[in-house]
Amino acid sequence: MAEQALRKAPLGGFHGGSAVAHVTAAGPASRLSLRAGADAVSALSKALGLDLPTRPKTSASSDGRHALWLGPDEWLLIDENGADLAALAAKADVLHSAVDVSHRNTAVLVSGTKAAVAIASASPHDLSPAVFPVGACARTVLGKIEVVIFRTGEQDFRVECWRSFAPYAFGLLAEGAEDAGL
């Protein structure tokens, strides 16, 4: 009988893509679903060490930690170094809701000259640089599932999805990446 639970990466062993759009599984990260009113934003920003964005589709990043605007009172926080974001948020003595979703989500990284084309094969969101520049983020749909798309570079995207949908998201993106290379 196993003495301890083993952590298994949801996309362990997955590989795909093409020369123009690489599709890879993102490494583990801690994540926080944060809800708060406008009056709590400055205290939470201080506690989390970055300015929570208050404009649609914008994000803030600092040392591998990202705050993504999802709605007028909602953010997705991602820390690639695995910091305990809920504990940090709890230091702010203001009304807020913080739910650790580190293991609810996983992410697929799409990069390359045609990364946007690969994603656009399954998502209606406009990813052109004029309206979706580096740092832009948005919750939208990819095929039949909900995702958060975050542009981390000119040719680099992070696609956050729910863990149980990850093989579906990866498959769609890998297929889109192959088509983009034709």
Binding site: P56, L70, G71, E74, P124, V131, R139, T140, V141
Partner: protein, 114 residues
């Protein structure tokens, strides 16, 4: 594919991100315990189903998550305006003619043709 303007995201987004939420501006009676069953049914179940301009609730469920209101033409599907929840109905008389009052229900068109 329809593009719907979300007043919270401040841009047009694909209809795939939205969910329809029924008629807007339906006010709950303040004297709900006093009204008759018929009056309650009128408030709770019955909607006008207009041909033409309609004010509806929509939710940007796969985007910012917010409910908002929109004015749409039920014939052409054209969206005339989107505005935040809680804001009053916009005046659209300049861009849209008055809605036809005729309602084509089964009863109205087929009810007597037995």
């Amino acid at each position: 594919m329809l593009l719907i303007y979300c007043p919270y995201c401040e841009e047009e987004r694909s209809e795939l991100e939205f969910r329809h939420g029924g008629d807007a501006h339906i006010a709950r009676p303040t004297n709900i315990a006093d009204i008759t069953d018929e009056e309650f049914a009128e408030f709770f179940f019955l909607r006008d189903n207009p041909k033409g301009l309609i004010f509806e609730r929509w939710r940007h469920i796969h985007g910012c998550g917010r409910f908002f209101n929109a004015a749409r033409d039920t014939v052409s599907d054209k969206f005339y305006a989107s505005y935040k929840a809680g804001e009053p109905k916009p005046d659209l008389s300049a861009v849209h003619p008055a809605t036809e009052k005729t309602v084509e229900t089964y009863e109205a068109t087929e009810g007597t043709a037995k």
